[in-house]
């Protein structure tokens, strides 16, 4: 779905600079408890803290996910996900395949359901050719804006209203300009940051 020749151009620095905030909502970091079973005992790592001994799961009840490894299962996993056949895949397919491989080889306990919101949204967008003009407002002002262009099921371009050289903060003008450039195939999506949080925060 992500084209290897993806073009990323004309990003307005201030608006695009808030990508991190948007990603915290759409793609929140998952807190994983990693447990390595070794001959000399169990070692666990969780959010910067090491724990030695049994019952690490009980020590870290707020972990979203628990993964239990041995060095052998890790080696098997690394061998599988770096096999020569993976180079044919798109990166998003590869990313998904890595987690499938992990789940197939390693006990993974999901305490909190994993929601691949970002990838689901992009996949849905990719079902037809076109451009998605996305605006996120905070109070009266444009907080974030970008345009995503899909061709043949692939994300081929990320851009923003900076390509029009002016009116980068005026949503109405952005829609006008985008509608003119991508006539008939531009979908405008506008919501507030609050609505984004309500819709996508778990």
């Amino acid at each position: 779905m992500i084209d290897s020749n993806l073009i990323v151009e004309y990003l307005e620095p201030t608006l695009w600079g808030r990508l991190g905030t948007v990603m915290e909502i759409l793609h929140p970091e998952r807190k994983v408890l990693h447990i390595l079973e070794e001959e000399d005992g169990c070692r666990a790592y969780y959010c910067g803290t090491m724990f030695y001994g049994e019952k690490a799961e009980e020590q870290f009840p707020d972990a979203d996910e628990v993964r239990i490894y041995t060095r052998e299962t890790i080696c098997g996993f690394l061998k599988a996900v770096q096999d020569r056949k993976i180079f044919e895949m798109d990166i998003d397919v590869y990313l998904h395949a890595m987690y499938e491989e992990l789940a197939a080889r390693i006990p993974v306990v999901c305490r909190k359901k994993k929601q691949e919101k970002l990838w689901k949204i992009l996949k849905a967008f990719g079902r037809s050719d076109g451009v998605y003009n996305i605006g996120i407002m905070q109070e009266e002002n444009l907080f974030f804006q970008c345009m995503l262009e899909f061709r043949a099921g692939k994300l081929v371009r990320i851009t923003s209203a900076d390509r029009y050289g002016q009116d980068v903060s005026d949503w109405e003008k952005i829609c006008e300009n985008a509608g003119r450039e991508f006539s008939g195939e531009c979908v405008h999506i506008m919501m507030t940051l609050e609505e984004l949080r309500e819709r996508y925060s778990s």
């Binding site: 600079g17 990508l19 996900v81």
Partner: protein
């Protein structure tokens, strides 16, 4: 002739400041080239930097495009235009480029070639999951890679030769780019490719000469070097001596030096007559060493890149002071100006200003701002990809370059009397005692693969490591305490490690060296030479006195001098009290912990620049004490102060740097 100087770059016998910025011709519409270069000049830049990416120019094996098909790829025209505009050029032909390119600048068929790929302990390629495509990391030992690189470089040669100084505007060439295993720099991630294992055995042969000797050191019998297989992780039960693992860690360093040496040889053979430099990614630890890279014949300067987070001081202070204490020219070949698109944040002009000025304050001499013009996959530069001005960034560069050049800032010297020496071997020991090093399967914001935390594999119960409690592989508790204490005392210092030149070491009055029970003989000799060299030299070791070499054989060169008198001091515990008897000199004194101060002095005129940084989020009224009477002429973020006697109180805004030129009354 053109060469790097102590303060910048020497062209036509004149040393000019090395303040350059990046523009990518092949990613910019040709009609915008002129406008962008004019704007760069208007901002005050006299030097432009560009990569010359292999994959862009060799579109299929043996098929090249230098503007014949795509006018943006007309390298010759771009270089000619720079010359017409009066701009010098730094070129970076790779082969490693990164530049947020899908295959980091390598042609697809190069990375697909299994003879070129690095190998993991699992026998697979080492995958780099870049946001637009995963690819195989190439091996720095691959002979085929160098043959292919050389062939590409020789296609570039006629163009580069025509445009090299004195005939053209190119004044420097970078050898490769951030050569550090594509940021997968832990010892056991890679490289187990055939050519790499061959090189590893070659290094062992150079070091030990005979199989008997290496057998004795490793505690295993080998009748031939070909029988030695590299470790894939630390295993305390396998009967090998620690030297076996340390040697692999050293091999990873050797491989980088070998790779850069090969690149320098290839560039040298092109007879461009230009100085060659390298940019380290971020490391001041194994497998990278600025000083050792600078000892590669034909390579003049090794810098370290910097992409600070907003309000960062920790990374910048350590990195720049390390360069100031270690490199021939403290140079940041890539200092972030804007951000890659999948970073998640773009620094404001104010945030960038603080980082740049803070770096200059701590000893930065030369810099390339990466990028000056935006392009595919990059935003937040002072110019958009079509040459429009991004006002706040443009103003920052325009004013900053004007101030730096008007006041000749690069010709002043920050000369701290204190040097802190990291113990490079402790980093090696901690790195090599990892039970395994899985490859990193993430990159930046979008690609978050299922990574395995390195801490899971660290074997901390290893002899020698009990003396350093720091969990960070490449930091040391004792040294961190020294830094914290000196910072609290407002004492300026440089950083380096055991690869420092003896002559340079002797320029410091106080040397704090992190030392443990084991220390290589050569390192002990270096410190011994320093300590024995004069009354005004103070060597302070800690937390332990070395009494053995790395093979645990008795070697107490420093201990012998320590026992004979007071030339060496052992500092087991670091406190402000324990440093109270050091007679540090400080002409300017501040006491507020939220403020940092450095002084740069002009070597000829004796004039001073006073730099003051507020490293907090609060407005501060800061008192600066000094002997006698002074006037302070404002250079940056401050006002003139006339006839101040003994002290002055100045206001400093949060996360800003202020600079004055000090005027002392005539004697």
């Amino acid at each position: 002739m053109v060469r790097f100087g102590e303060n910048g770059i020497i062209i036509d016998g004149r040393e000019i400041p090395l303040y350059s910025g990046s523009v990518h011709y092949w990613r910019t519409e040709r009609k915008h080239w002129g406008k962008i270069l004019d704007q760069c000049r208007q901002m005050g830049f006299e030097i432009i930097e560009t990569y010359i990416p292999w994959s862009v120019h060799e579109t299929e094996p043996g098929i090249f495009d230098f503007g014949e098909k795509d006018e943006r790829k007309d390298l010759e025209a771009f270089l000619s235009l720079c010359e017409q505009k009066g701009l010098w050029v730094i070129v970076r032909p790779g082969p490693h480029i990164n530049a947020e390119m899908t295959l980091f600048g390598y042609p697809e068929w190069i990375l697909a070639d299994e003879e070129i790929q690095a190998r993991t302990p699992q026998g697979t390629a080492a995958v780099y999951p870049y946001v637009t495509k995963q690819f195989a990391v190439p091996s720095y030992a691959s002979r085929k890679l160098y043959r292919a690189t050389e062939a590409y470089f020789w296609v570039l040669q006629p163009i580069l030769k025509r445009h090299s100084y004195p005939d053209g505007g190119i004044v420097a060439v970078q050898a490769d780019n951030e050569t550090c295993y594509f940021f997968r720099d832990r010892p056991y991630v890679m490289d187990y490719a055939d050519d790499s294992v061959r090189l590893y055995r070659h290094m062992l042969q150079e070091k030990y000469h005979t199989a008997d000797r290496v057998s004795a050191v490793y505690g295993k019998h080998f009748s031939d070097f070909a029988q030695i297989c590299p470790p894939t992780g630390y295993d305390k039960e396998d009967g090998y001596a620690m030297e076996y693992y340390l040697d692999w860690t050293e091999y990873k360093e050797y491989q980088i030096l070998y790779a850069l040496g090969r690149m320098v040889d290839i560039i040298g053979s092109m007879q461009l007559g230009l100085p060659i430099f390298h940019n380290c990614a971020y490391q001041n630890h194994t497998p990278v060493s600025v000083q050792r890279i600078e000892r590669i014949p034909g390579l003049s300067v090794a810098g370290i890149d910097a992409y600070p987070e907003p309000q960062d001081t920790k990374m910048l202070k350590e990195r720049i002071r390390y360069l100031a204490g270690s490199s021939r020219l403290p140079f940041v070949p890539e200092f972030g100006s804007g951000s890659w698109f999948d970073r998640g944040r773009v620094l404001s002009a104010g945030e960038e200003e603080f980082g740049y000025l803070y770096a200059f304050m701590n000893g930065l001499k030369a810099v390339n701002f990466y990028m000056l013009a935006e392009r595919d996959r990059w935003t937040g530069a002072p110019l958009s990809c079509d040459g429009r001005v991004r006002e706040s960034y443009w103003q920052l560069f325009s004013h900053m370059l004007d101030a730096l050049k008007t006041h000749g800032v690069c010709y002043y010297r920050r000369s701290p009397e204190v040097l802190l020496l990291k113990n490079y071997d402790m980093g090696r020991l901690k790195a090599c005692t990892s039970r395994m090093d899985p490859n990193t399967l993430s990159s930046n914001l979008f690609i978050q693969g299922p990574d395995f935390p390195q801490a899971l594999f660290a074997d901390t119960n290893v002899a020698g490591m009990e003396q350093d409690a720091c969990g960070d592989t490449f930091a040391e508790s004792w040294l961190l305490q020294v830094m914290e204490t000196l910072d609290a005392m407002h004492i300026d210092y440089d950083l380096s490690d055991c690869y420092i030149d003896a002559g340079r070491l002797c320029g410091y009055r106080y040397v704090f060296a992190a030392a443990y029970r084991q220390m290589p003989e050569a390192c002990q000799e270096l410190l011994l030479e320093y300590a024995g060299g004069g009354e005004d030299r103070n060597l302070i070791l800690g937390p332990s006195m070395p009494v053995e070499n790395r093979r645990r054989e008795e070697c107490g060169l420093l201990d012998a001098l320590y026992c004979r008198g007071n030339r060496i001091r052992l500092l087991r515990e670091v406190t402000g009290q324990s440093l109270a008897d050091c007679r540090f000199t400080a002409e300017y004194v501040v006491t507020d912990k939220r403020v940092e101060l450095t002084v740069h002095t002009h070597p000829e005129s004796g004039e001073q620049l006073l730099w003051l940084a507020n490293v907090s989020g609060e407005d501060i009224a800061c008192k600066i004490a000094f002997p006698g009477k002074r006037c302070f002429r404002a250079i940056w973020n401050c006002q003139d102060i006339e006839d101040a006697y003994a002290s002055v109180t100045v206001a400093v805004a949060p996360y800003t740097v202020a600079v004055w030129k000090v005027v002392k009354p005539a004697k």
